[in-house]
Amino acid sequence: MDQRVVDAVRGHPGVHDWTIRFQRGRGAQVYLAGTALENMRQVGRDAYEIELFNDHQVDGEPMRGSAVIPLGREDLARLPSILDDGVSMASLVHNPPWSLPEAGDQPDVELADPRLVDVADSVREARVAADQIRDLVDAAGPGVRLSAAELFLTAVDEQLMNSRGVETASTSTRVLLELNLLADGEEEAEFFRQAEARRLDDLHLVEMVHDAAQHARDATRAHQPRTRLGPVVLSDIAVDQLLAASVLGNSSPYLAQTSAAAAYEHLSRFEVGEPVYLGRERMGDPLTMRSNARRPFSVLSYRFDADGLAAHDVLLIEDGVLRGRTATQRYAQYLNIPPTGRPGLAEITPGSTPLADLLRGEPSVYQVVAFSAPNVDDVTGNFGMEIRLGYEIGPGGTRPIKGGSVSGNLFEAMANARFSAETAEFASFAGPRAIRFESMQVAGEDG
């Protein structure tokens, strides 16, 4: 961290508290178009984010204003004027006072793949992984070929200091893979998969390519589901998508609704001590969920959050009843509850029913393995997602389905859900590998 930044912030008379976050990121990106290399990139960036606090009065009431000031490298030359602007912004923002965290113990949370910390290693690993993807798809059998792959290997060193004595650091790595396979068949079809992990090995490339190849083949003979209200089992990517943040801004629905911020803003539909089913009577397995920001190598884990609060493991929902909330420093003080830091990975207690039993039903059960994208409103719980691939499973056999949509309200649907005994770790949660919803609306072919 550049001492000039610290000195400038510390010495500004209008700054009454402050937090400085510094990230040094670097990484490699490899892009395959078909099996050809399209682009090989090496990237790096230093980024500061300064949060300034200005205390003032409005109509005799004490207020605390804040402004977040991201800085680029070139901004360091004109730091005084940028800080003046930041203080001016903070003085115009009027919030109830709250105080920053003070120095304390912070856990060691495993966040980094040692193979990816050095950018030269990342470039080499990216090329090796690209070769491995080509080879795995080549070996996946006839009729399947690589359409595209993108692999990002990123490492970030982060430092955080604040005016109350917090001074901490962490190193993390992140791996993102997009894989698209094409399969020949009745009608050529594709299967798209995106995966994120902290470590390269956690992508499980062999299994991922194998499953994607099978899904692509199945998609070539998939048909529309029928319109109906009935049991739907979400598994694989689909169950992760139901509980994930959406691409364009919605937060993970349960983690948003159980946050202190949502409660303070009157946007939470849950009350502590009350069931989380929006008035529906529970008919299925009880929902028990934790927010664990200390889970090793989870992409949602961290050592400290943006305020410098240590990562926590928090019980949110127990047997279908809200027991606690995650709370960043500010909202913890507003609601007078313990600060926990921002949410981590959702951990859901699995059920006792084998997946095979969840997939049984008359006349049939729809199993969805992938939606086109996560799309759950984090306030209402309403969702509607297009089936990218699934299966209709009945006594007469199994047939692939795609197209059409599954819609409903997540919080209500969870009242009549059963969780598989088998478990898996996804990007947005760890817990049952599949969830069966007894009554979910599928829109597909009429009649």
Binding site: Y31, T35, M40, R269
Partner: protein, 477 residues
């Protein structure tokens, strides 16, 4: 727009950028002594975001996202280096490292030849016309103005539980250089999002008003009628029914029409998807894909469009592209790599989320052309149908040609009239050629919407979409 069209302030800034970054041409020239193609893009941003809501306020400076990306072709593929250091010494050093990397490139797979034509707009300067520059209005005044609007919205509906006003203004400056010349571009974008949440004690619902575009604060005026409609719609959704799944005659509002254009023949004709075998449209160039009424365009030159720009991130001068004309698919939208690989003329659609990411073929402002009817004509022509309103988002399926759009609500139409019954939420799905073949009416005016667009699940860029009211048939759930 040429340098002579710039305001004095924009012209002065362009001159400053030319003086600061004129060396980029020399860097490109030096790189091209060793590689067949090279280019440089410097980009940086500035601006503010203000978030006002019950109980709290926040303000932040826009992330400058500043940096440079140097591109070099090795004759088969592109290699790039991106850094946040864009002083002359750092860029020269980065360029030397990149050239070394390219010179020591070893094929690690099949690598067909990539012969890039270094065309471009030459030397030119561009800037968004701005009537009311956000920096000419103090932050104090802007916060007061938007807080007053927020409070007026909240006061309209007794069941309101939260009202949010988000205001953003920003400038994005880019300098592109290749052997054809050096361009500078100053884009100004503004946005205001008003969102009202209501509750009856059990349910939470919301509606919103969005104003946005390239330009100044003149684009953000909100009328009292718009606030009243937002509050009334949010309240009405508390008693909305679920729509019975099935196939319906529908009229899509302009927001939904624009989203159909965006998802169906926007993402589906991004030609990097052609290269990857992911787009069925590649097999339909010159063929019928919709009724005679269907015209779809992508145009980065739309005045005030949220996705507007003058030069794309790979140096292509902006111009409009007719994607579908009278129901016939004309061509896709390109980035440099895919146009070169496919051997087709470029369109100005090579865009990057930031210099830290590669360029892809991306939309700018994508829209249906207008028809000749009025909304009243279209409603009067339906015995039994739905007016689908406020698309929230959608998802592309270029390979299967499926379409999925999620809209906030739909109003029931019976015997050529709106009945007052409202359904929410609405999932619109269909097979794109069927949906476009069933287009039987378009209204005679176009309305625009603004938004963010991802490529798959990442690579967010700002886009516009729009169109008229559109009558077709599709499946709702």
């Amino acid at each position: 727009m040429t340098a002579t069209d710039l305001s004095p302030a924009a012209a002065a800034e362009a001159q400053r950028l030319r003086e600061q970054f004129g060396f980029l041409r020399e860097v490109v020239d030096e790189m091209e002594r060793d590689v067949p193609y090279a280019s440089a893009l410097v980009r940086f941003s500035d601006g503010h975001s203000i978030d006002l809501r019950d109980g709290e306020q926040s303000a932040r400076r826009q992330d400058p996202q500043s940096g440079v990306v140097l591109t070099a072709s090795n004759g088969h593929a592109l290699e790039e280096s991106a850094s946040d250091a864009f002083d002359v010494d750092s860029i020269r050093s980065t360029s030397r490292d990149l050239v070394e990397r390219v010179r020591h490139h070893h094929a690690d797979g099949p690598e067909p030849e990539l012969a890039i034509l270094a065309d471009g707009p030459g030397d030119a300067d561009f800037a968004t016309p701005v009537a009311i520059d956000p920096t000419s209005v103090s932050l104090t005044e802007r916060i007061a103005r938007y807080e007053a609007i927020r409070r007026r919205l909240r006061a309209i509906e007794a069941r309101a539980v939260q009202a949010i006003a988000v205001h953003r203004d920003g400038s994005q400056v880019s300098i592109f250089a290749n052997r054809s010349g050096m361009t500078t571009q100053q884009i100004r974008r503004v946005a205001m999002i008003l969102q009202l949440f209501v509750s009856d004690g059990q349910q939470r619902q919301f509606d919103l008003v969005i104003k946005a575009g390239t330009g100044g604060l003149e684009l953000l005026d909100v009328t009292e009628d718009e606030l009243a409609e937002c509050a009334a719609t949010a309240a009405s959704l508390l008693s909305a029914d679920s729509v019975a799944p099935g196939t319906y005659d529908v009229i899509a509002d302009p927001l939904t029409t624009g989203t159909i254009a965006h998802e169906a023949f926007g993402h589906g004709v991004e030609t990097d998807m052609f290269v990857k075998g992911r787009a069925r449209a590649a097999e339909y160039v010159g063929q019928r894909v919709g009724s005679d009424l269907v015209n779809i365009f992508d145009d980065p030159t739309i005045p005030a469009g949220y996705g507007s720009y003058f030069v794309d991130d790979e140096g292509q001068l902006a111009s409009g592209t007719a994607i579908i004309r009278n129901g016939i698919f004309q061509r896709g939208i390109t980035d440099l790599y895919s146009a070169t690989r496919l051997g087709i003329p470029r369109s100005a659609n090579g865009r990057r989320e930031s210099v830290q990411r590669k360029a892809y073929a991306r939309m700018s402002n994508t829209f249906f052309g207008a028809g000749t009817s009025t909304l009243e004509d279209l409603i009067a022509g339906l015995d039994d149908g739905l007016l689908v309103c406020r698309a929230i988002n959608g998802m592309e399926d270029p390979k299967g040609w499926g379409i999925q759009i999620w809209s906030q609500f739909a109003r029931e139409i019976k015997n050529g009239r709106l009945t007052g019954t409202i359904y929410s939420p609405i999932a619109l799905t269909g097979y794109v050629p069927d949906l476009l073949a069933d287009v039987t009416g378009l209204s005679n005016t176009i309305e625009w919407a603004s938004g963010s667009c991802g490529k798959g699940w990442k690579e967010i860029v700002q886009v516009g979409s729009g169109g008229p009211y559109l009558r077709t048939r599709c499946r709702l759930g």
